[in-house]
């Protein structure tokens, strides 16, 4: 997977390194901005209220 991506990056090695780092930064940003906030309510750390529907795995996080 990674060698395949590397082979398909354009330009000399230096350019590939720059593009590869940019890709990594893009993926990390997408994770922090969208993916992790979406996953977070499925974990128990955010359940702090009493709530008639509350369980240890409340999806609303309420």
């Amino acid at each position: 997977m990674y060698p395949w991506i590397w082979r398909h990056l354009p330009g000399p090695t230096a350019a590939r390194v720059v593009v590869a780092l940019a890709l990594v930064a893009l993926v990390v940003a997408a994770l922090f901005l969208w993916v992790f906030p979406w996953v977070e309510p499925f974990l128990p750390f955010t359940d702090v209220t009493v709530d008639e529907s509350a369980t240890g795995v409340s999806l609303t996080g309420s």
């Binding site: 994770l31 955010t46 702090v48 009493v50 529907s53 240890g56």
Partner: protein
């Protein structure tokens, strides 16, 4: 040395031919390492990033509220309607630190709780007859109630509104099931009763890094004073 170079070393001779077993094993290894990195990144997100973001939002809410109090003073305490996700009071808990100050935001949804502590919308306002109930994160997202378990019977919880300081004193904390909504009833643990006292309730998750229980503190108003009289005694006023 690049990946290409590595492959040249490991695969000398005739043109490279893909060995399916190698390809599968290598791809599987890459996926597993990627999964490990993802989990580590998520830990960084939870333990560091959510707190950075929440601290920034709480500071913003506090600043906006204090500016509003100074620039648009209202003789009436809650002249403006409370808006979901907006701070309307500040809370101080001396036991948790001399500088402990957290905005009280309307609402207990996740978005509200990442800006401070959240006011259960159906509960009383600070200083009013009934139960002023708030929830706060104990882990991640600013974790204003991270060390709430250190609160002891007799400790003060001070609430500042646009016009007034309210000093509550809490009883010993106790642990309940997440479904025990009666702890935030107008008279805590007596949902049918008609309130006559001015009470406060703090709720957070228990144990800290899980949520199968809730840690609860109930308290009662012991003093109040207009802000023109300065800070209350509980804050060293």
């Amino acid at each position: 040395m690049t990946v290409d170079d590595l492959e040249k070393v490991s695969e000398p001779g005739p043109p490279r031919r893909s060995d399916p077993v190698r390809l599968v094993a290598r791809t599987l290894g890459e996926l597993l390492i990627t999964a490990g990195i993802l989990v580590l990144l998520f830990v960084v997100y939870q333990l560091v990033w959510t707190n950075v973001q929440a601290d920034r939002e709480a500071a913003h809410e506090t600043a906006v509220l204090q500016q509003q109090w100074v620039e648009q003073p209202t003789p009436k305490e809650f002249a403006r309607p409370l808006r979901q996700g907006k701070a309307f009071a500040l809370m101080y808990i001396p036991r948790l630190g001399k500088k402990y100050e957290v905005p009280v935001v309307q609402g207990v949804a996740l978005d509200d709780l990442s800006k401070g502590v959240g006011h259960y919308p159906s509960s009383a306002l600070p200083g009013r007859v009934g139960n002023f109930a708030v929830a706060g994160h104990r882990a991640t997202n600013g974790e204003p109630f991270a060390y709430l378990d250190q609160l002891q019977a007799g400790d003060a919880v001070v609430v500042e509104t646009s016009t007034t300081w309210y000093t509550y004193v809490v009883d010993a904390g106790y642990i309940v099931a997440p479904t025990q909504v009666e702890v935030v009833a107008p008279v805590p643990n007596d949902p049918q009763a008609v309130p006559t006292e001015r009470l406060i309730t703090l709720t957070t998750c228990n144990p800290r890094w899980d949520s199968y229980e809730r840690l609860i503190f109930n308290g009662a108003l012991v003093a109040q004073q207009p802000k023109s009289e300065g800070r209350p005694a509980a804050l060293g006023g």
